[in-house]
């Protein structure tokens, strides 16, 4: 099953390299979103909490602009039926999830680097905490947006519906991650941030389990 998922991921990876649609649009979206924020800030210095919030705002909207591709592209190309024939739903979901995970990690790495270069207050005091938040947050974001993307693709690929459906589901994750990012700016120790970390870990585990259990129903018509 793992080999099959990997093969599916490789298929997506190659077709992505051929068109570079997701990478290009995500990169441009990041630049546009950050420059809009920078224009609106102007010469003012914004606080740490606002920086942490804006960091996750950009991450959320970038994810919303690019991650639905995973399943929508299959529907657009009419390859859904073929995939249903050759692979089990779990395999399909794993393959798509790996692809989205890598996409989310790349895109958020770029966002984090741009933020640390462009925002004065984006100074991480507790780097291990920031890294852990970043990794856990990305996993949760990738899992939740992959399962919602599957729903959207079956609903007829309604572009505007994607953020509408994702936002309530991602809200616990984003609120906690904003708090944790703020902690890492303040240099809060792991012991004090324990509780928020537990929430993010719990969210990831629940989302992961629920997605795998429910994907069968979405995938099979």
């Amino acid at each position: 099953m793992i080999a099959e998922s990997y093969a599916l991921f490789k298929k997506d990876f190659h077709s992505e390299l051929r068109t570079r649609y997701a990478i290009n649009s995500l990169a441009m979206f990041i630049i546009v979103a950050i420059s809009v924020i920078l224009f609106s800030i102007g010469n003012e210095t914004i606080t740490e909490s606002l920086t942490a919030g804006l960091f996750w705002v950009v991450i959320f909207f970038t994810a919303m602009s690019g991650l639905s591709r995973a399943f929508v592209s299959e529907e657009e190309r009419g390859t859904t039926l073929t995939l249903q024939l050759i692979a089990s739903p779990t395999t399909v979901f794993s393959g798509k999830l790996i692809f989205n995970l890598i996409l989310v990690f790349c895109m958020n790495l770029v966002i984090a680097l741009l933020y640390s270069a462009l925002f004065e207050k984006f100074v991480v005091q507790n780097f291990p905490l920031f890294l852990l938040t970043f990794i856990l947050g990305n996993i949760g974001l990738a899992v939740a947006s992959t399962i919602i993307a599957a729903i959207i693709a079956k609903a007829g690929a309604k572009g505007t519906l994607y953020p509408v459906l994702s936002f309530p589901i991602l809200l616990p994750l984003i609120l906690t991650c904003v708090q944790l990012t703020l902690f890492s700016f303040d240099g809060t120790s792991f012991e004090e941030a324990q509780f928020e970390l537990a929430i993010v870990v719990g969210y990831d585990v629940i989302m992961f389990t629920a997605s795998y259990m429910l994907f069968d129903f979405i995938w099979k018509d």
């Binding site: 007829g156 519906l161 509408v164 609120l175 629940i206």
Partner: protein, 240 residues
Amino acid sequence: MIWKIFLFLLLAFVSIAGIAFPIVEKPSAWYEFPFIPGLEENAKIIFFHVPTAWLTVIAFLMSTVFSFRYLRTKNLDEDAKAHSAAQLGMIFCILATVTGAVWAKFAWGQFWSWDPRQTSIFAILLIYGALFALRSSIESEDKRATLSAVYSLIAFVTVPFFIFIMPRIMKGLHPGSADDTNAGPVIDFKMNSSMQLIFFLSLIGFTILYFWMWRVGYKSIIIKDKLDKKIMNPITGQGG
């Protein structure tokens, strides 16, 4: 029929008693409510705010249960039940948000202050809204039922976190939050027996009302579906 009259009398009594019974320093007569410091006359909205918030959660729970049953049986009647519960949940959620905001204006000073409770009710409102947006975007009945069932199950695994855990662990203004110095829920300690009686009668009355509305709601959805099929199937001359 008899229980409808009973329900009418019950809700009429609760509405009148909840609004009209006086709040006094030392209640002696059975119809007098105690004076609760910090709440004062605002305390009366508890008879309407808590039942609506309670029914928001009940409706959400029922919608999820029937969604789950739909996924197991693929019976569209279950989907009608889930949808009807979600519709009522949306109404009660709006009522709970509005009554809560009004109460907050007088108790905390402003309508909306992103208290953890307010954040959580807002999230539920968003989920209900997203559910209806999803439903209205899909034409096919089976697909609509399946996808909205899956979505409400996914929402259900993340939302309990909002309603039950977050408001209790975070510092907030709402009773029951982490730094609540009033020693827990108002219901147990601050109310006298007459206030508790009205409160629980109100809770029971609203719950019966909800179940009645829910039955009417899902039956009308099922009948409407049947009629639609009848109209859309003119070749055979019979209903689908």
